[in-house]
C-alpha cells in the first residue's frame, strides 16, 4: 500500500459512518445508500485538493455527499417516471413503509431536508451547518423553524 492509499484509508475510516448515515438519510434504501456512498469516496479519492484544516476537509466531504445524493435521487426519480410511463408498477422500498421518521424528510424540499439531516442525523451546530451549506446562521435557524413548522402541519393533517 502506498502513501496515498494509507492516507486515504485513514480518512475513510474516520468519515465512513458519517457519510453512510447521510447517504441513507437521503436515499432511505440500503442498496442505494451503498452505491452513493461508494461514489462519494471514489470522488474523494480522486481529488487533489489541499485542505486547510480537518473542518475544511469534513465540510467538503459532506458537500460532496449531499450533492451526489441529490443527483442520485433526481436520476432515480427520472427513471421511475419512465417506468411509470411504461405502466410498470413501482414498488417502494420496504424501509419507506411503516412509521420510519426518515420518511418525513420526503415531505420537504431539498433546502429544508439538508438542514434537518445535518442537524438531527449528524448533530451539527447551526454554525457548522452554515459553513457547510454556505448560508448564514440566521438563515439556518429560519429554515430549521420553517422545516419543523411544515412537518408539524403535515403531521397534524395526517393525524386528523
Amino acid at each position: 500500500m502506498n502513501e496515498q492509499e494509507q492516507i486515504f484509508e485513514t480518512k475513510y475510516n474516520h468519515y465512513k459512518k458519517m457519510v453512510f448515515n447521510i447517504c441513507y438519510a437521503y436515499t432511505r434504501n440500503h442498496q442505494d445508500a451503498e452505491d452513493t456512498f461508494q461514489d462519494v469516496f471514489m470522488k474523494f479519492y480522486d481529488i487533489k485538493k489541499r485542505f486547510t484544516s480537518s473542518d475544511h476537509e469534513r465540510n467538503y466531504l459532506i458537500r460532496i455527499t449531499i450533492n451526489l445524493c441529490k443527483d442520485f435521487l433526481r436520476k432515480k426519480k427520472k427513471q421511475n417516471t419512465i417506468i411509470s410511463d411504461e405502466l410498470v408498477h413501482h414498488t417502494p422500498s420496504p424501509e419507506l413503509k411503516g412509521n420510519n421518521p426518515l420518511d418525513m424528510l420526503e415531505e420537504l424540499n431539498e433546502n429544508y431536508r439538508d438542514i434537518l439531516v445535518l442537524k438531527y442525523i449528524e448533530n451539527m451546530s447551526n454554525q457548522d451547518i452554515s459553513n457547510i451549506l454556505n448560508i448564514s446562521e440566521s438563515n439556518v435557524r429560519k429554515r430549521l423553524e420553517r422545516a419543523i413548522k411544515k412537518l408539524k402541519i403535515k403531521w397534524e393533517e395526517t393525524n386528523l
Binding site: E5, F8, E9, Y12, K16, K17, F20, N21, Y24, A25, H30, E34, F37, Q38, F41, M42, Y45, N100, P101, L102, M104, L105, L116, K119, Y120, I121, N123, I148, L151, K152, W155
Partner: protein, 396 residues
C-alpha cells in the same frame, strides 16, 4: 410522539454500517481501470491552433530580427588589403588588391569584394604576364557568409583584351584585371566572419623582385556592429578621418602594430573611451566648434559636434532616428543625460540658447598624425562601468 421527538429519533432508524462495504469500496477503487484521456477533436484543433500561433510568433520575431543592420567595422573603412604598399609601387611583379566596398550592410545586402591583380612593375607584354601567372586561380572562402556569385575564378585567357585595363598608377603603367565576389551574411546569429582570399598557381620566382613573396592566402576577419543605436548615431557624424589616418600610417609602416592597437583598438582596459577629433583639417583652428566628441562604450558609439546647441543635437538625433523608422526619443535623451551626468559635457547659455560644451577635455596636438585629437582619460572616473564590446579590425 411529536415532530421534534421524531426528528431526534431519525438517526436510530439508520442501519448499521455494512460490514462488506469497506471491501467493496476498496476493491472498486484499487482495481478500477483508469480510462486513458482521449483528446477530443476540438481539443486537438486548439492544440494545432496553438502550435500554429506559436510558429507564427517565432517567425515574426525572426523576421523582425533580420531588420537589424549589421555593419562592416566603423573603423577604417572600406577594407583594403594589398601587397603594393601605400605610397610607392610594389617591387613585386604580381600585385593584388582586395577591397570590400561599402561601410554598412543589412542582412539582405550583397557585400561586394573586388580583387584586382596584375603586373605591378615594369609591365612588358602579355606573354610575360602569361608566363608569370600561368592559370591563376582566385578563390574565396567565407564562413558566416554565403556566396551569391562565383566563389572561384580561373584566369586562363590572358590574350583576351577584356582582361586587361591599361592604367597609369604612380607613374607606372600596369595591367589590371578585376574579379568580383559577392557574398551575403547568412544570419545574424553570428556577428563576425572570416573571409579568406586565395591566390594560387603563379610562378613564385617571378612574383618577387627583391621583396619577399606576397602571401597567397589573405584572411580578413570582419566584425559586424550589431548595435543598432551605435550604428545609427555614427551615421549622424561619421568620423573615420582619424582612424583612416591611423590605418594608413600602420599600412605604411610609420607606426608599429602595438602602437596601432594602442591607438585604434580602443578599450584595452574595458573602459569608456572619449575622443575628441577634429572635423576640419586646418590645424590652426583649435576651437571646439571644429571638433567632434566621439564616445565609445559597450552600448553605443557616436559622435557629437561640439558647441552645437542642444536643439541641434537633438534634431540630428531625431532626424536619423526617424529616417530609420525607429522611435527612440527616450534613448536619445538618455544619451545626452548620460553625458551630462558624467561631466563629459556641460550645459551653457550662448546666444540665448542652451549649448553643450566640453569642459574637461584638453586638446593635444600629435605631430605627424595630420589631425588634432585628444584622449580624455575620463573613464577612470567610472570604475563601475561595464566593459564595452568594440568592433575592430583584427590586425594580422
Amino acid at each position: 410522539m411529536n415532530v421534534e421527538q421524531q426528528l431526534i429519533q431519525m438517526k436510530y432508524y439508520i442501519p448499521e454500517f455494512p460490514n462488506d462495504l469497506d471491501a467493496k469500496l476498496m476493491n472498486r477503487i484499487y482495481n478500477r481501470e483508469i480510462p486513458k484521456p482521449r483528446i477530443k477533436p476540438f481539443k486537438m484543433a486548439y492544440i494545432l491552433m496553438s502550435v500554429f500561433i506559436l510558429a507564427l510568433a517565432v517567425g515574426l520575431v525572426l523576421l523582425l530580427d533580420t531588420n537589424r543592420k549589421p555593419v562592416i567595422p566603423l573603423y577604417g573603412d572600406p577594407i583594403v588589403i594589398t601587397n603594393t604598399g601605400g605610397s610607392s609601387p610594389s617591387l613585386s611583379r604580381i600585385f593584388y588588391k582586395w577591397e570590400i566596398e561599402g561601410s554598412q550592410y543589412s542582412i539582405e545586402d550583397e557585400i561586394k569584394m573586388i580583387v584586382s591583380f596584375g603586373h605591378g612593375y615594369h609591365p612588358n607584354n602579355e606573354s610575360e604576364i602569361k608566363m608569370l601567372l600561368n592559370d591563376l586561380k582566385i578563390s574565396i572562402t567565407a564562413d558566416a557568409f554565403e556566396n551569391i556569385g562565383e566563389s572561384e575564378y580561373i584566369i586562363k585567357d590572358y590574350n583576351s583584351e577584356t582582361y586587361f585595363i591599361d592604367e597609369y598608377w604612380i607613374n607606372n603603367q600596369r595591367f589590371e584585371h578585376q574579379v568580383t565576389f559577392k557574398i551575403q551574411l547568412k544570419s545574424l546569429e553570428r556577428s563576425q566572419g572570416e573571409i579568406k582570399l586565395i591566390f594560387d598557381n603563379y610562378e613564385e620566382g617571378y612574383v618577387t623582385s627583391g621583396n619577399s613573396e606576397p602571401p597567397r592566402i589573405v584572411t580578413k576577419s570582419v566584425y559586424y556592429v550589431v548595435d543598432e543605436l551605435g550604428v545609427l548615431l555614427s551615421d549622424i557624424e561619421p568620423y573615420t578621418l582619424y582612424f583612416k589616418s591611423m590605418d594608413r600610417r600602420y599600412d605604411e609602416g610609420f607606426i608599429t602594430r602595438s602602437q596601432y592597437i594602442d591607438e585604434v583598438v580602443p578599450n584595452p582596459d574595458d573602459k569608456i573611451i572619449v575622443n575628441l577629433a577634429r572635423v576640419q583639417i586646418t590645424l590652426q583652428d583649435d576651437s571646439l566648434q571644429s571638433f567632434t566628441l566621439d564616445y565609445v562604450s559597450k552600448q553605443l558609439r557616436f559622435s557629437l559636434n561640439i558647441g552645437k546647441s542642444y536643439q541641434y543635437l537633438y534634431e540630428q538625433f531625431m532626424t536619423a532616428i526617424e529616417s530609420d523608422g525607429i522611435e527612440n526619443e527616450v534613448y536619445v535623451k538618455e544619451i545626452l543625460d548620460l553625458l551630462l551626468d558624467k561631466g563629459l559635457i556641460t550645459e551653457a547659455q550662448h546666444n540665448q540658447e542652451t549649448i553643450f560644451l566640453l569642459q574637461t577635455i584638453s586638446i593635444e596636438l600629435k605631430e605627424g598624425i595630420g589631425i588634432t585629437r585628444s584622449l580624455a582619460h575620463l573613464y577612470d572616473k567610472f570604475p563601475d562601468y561595464q566593459p564595452p564590446e568594440i568592433s575592430y579590425y583584427e590586425i594580422k
